[in-house]
Assembly symmetry: C2
Homo-oligomer: 292 residues x 2
Amino acid sequence: MQMNDYIELVNSKLNEFIQIQYPETIFKSMKYTVTLPGKRLRPILCLETCRLLGGEISDAIPTACAIEMLHAQTLIHDDLPCMDNDDYRRGKLTNHKVFGEAIAVLAGDALLTFAPQIITKYSENLSPSVLIRVLNEYFQYAGAYGVIAGQVVDIESENAEKIDNKEKTLEYLHIHKTSDLFKLAMRTGAIIAGADDEKISVITEFAHNFGLAFQIADDILDEISTFEEMGKTLGKDKEEGKLTYVSLYGLEESKCKLSCLFKNCCDIMNKHNIQSEILEDMIESIKKRVGI
Amino acid sequence: MQMNDYIELVNSKLNEFIQIQYPETIFKSMKYTVTLPGKRLRPILCLETCRLLGGEISDAIPTACAIEMLHAQTLIHDDLPCMDNDDYRRGKLTNHKVFGEAIAVLAGDALLTFAPQIITKYSENLSPSVLIRVLNEYFQYAGAYGVIAGQVVDIESENAEKIDNKEKTLEYLHIHKTSDLFKLAMRTGAIIAGADDEKISVITEFAHNFGLAFQIADDILDEISTFEEMGKTLGKDKEEGKLTYVSLYGLEESKCKLSCLFKNCCDIMNKHNIQSEILEDMIESIKKRVGI
């Protein structure tokens, strides 16, 4: 499968899984953000990991799509006026700008239940015990122990001046806010493929490095990119005095760290004989955008 | 078990399930609303149904507590400024008044993942396939097909004047906004007890009537009660022109309908030889408060 085939597959399934029905507003609002054009990195990582470890891509589709829905949920609520207060996302109006704040809150809420429901509803080929393992991964990384822990520390990192151990706080924030969803995607892909614990731990290590790299690249692009390139308002973290990799270490050291994390990713792939054009393409495309 | 034993059991388990850890803000915020004093009707309905149908109460505790957490989640987000904008709930400041809006949004989000996680984490005695059945019930009633569908129609019922079929809309709204969580509680209690489909359908019928009665009682109390009695601001639905049982049918007819629904509940209990002081107490206590 090429990258575009994966994107097309994920898009068509996302579209299929969210059927508009009464009361239409909520399903339209959920579908609006879930189907905004995107790179679909997380679902593709799930599907590609499943394939690499000998599983059937089709078995991982519900989980892959659930993770993209979860990701969309974080975007809807992150963009709310009481959070980042953003009007644009992926070049389009944010959910609350189109549907109003109340519906945007409920659409995010609905997706948090809809996503794991997609996993149980459409994973006919998974045994009940594998299904429960997948759900447990989902719950662990999606909630207060995972992504949300990262978001809370992110919010609390406004006025970064007041934080005691900035390095440690930033690492915690990046691991949970960003790496956790990449870990979830790749670990569930591996579990669905029937991988053993050793392979799952290799995959987790890759996802950890890849996720941190992705977040540092995002911090760099927030500094050097334009609205047109990113499709969202930039420079807000800086404005709010938020803790970012660039604010703490500067642009050059951030680029070095990014190179180093991607080198870790390639080393893991080489050492464990993981050959994936898709993973290589993802890394190269991020490197190119950041200019390293 | 008496009502107070149930309340004590549920409270102690809710307290135990939410351990405060880093980042503390989010767990404190979740715990704040979940542990506000309350009647714990939904979890008790789950536990009592399980007991009535021959199951072990202890097997249903994680699910019962998850449903109370889900209920607390709906309160946190309902009270937000962009929703009902309420400052008080159960006589205490609402979540966003204590923790700020951003954390209140995230605490609600976190509970939506935390609640089903509690079910998978602590239901050691349930087989994987029963566990998945319970989760499927949870997903169906908690999300866009259940409670949230009701909340959306509730929001859209502002300016009730514009609604075409008010009677049908109101019924839909009540069924989903309120009955669905009662159905979820009693159906999962029955499933955990190993009840057959026929018993589950009797239980569902009871929950349907009880839930509607509960919502009509709430509409009546919103009209005739005081802040001190209810612990929340009253009369807001009327102010916003929202569709309620009382606004559509008047106070007297609402009381008649309530009596009729409770009679249905008692008929179901008699017909199927369900003897429960707890269910009878719940009905009597609501009747007393409303004055019928």
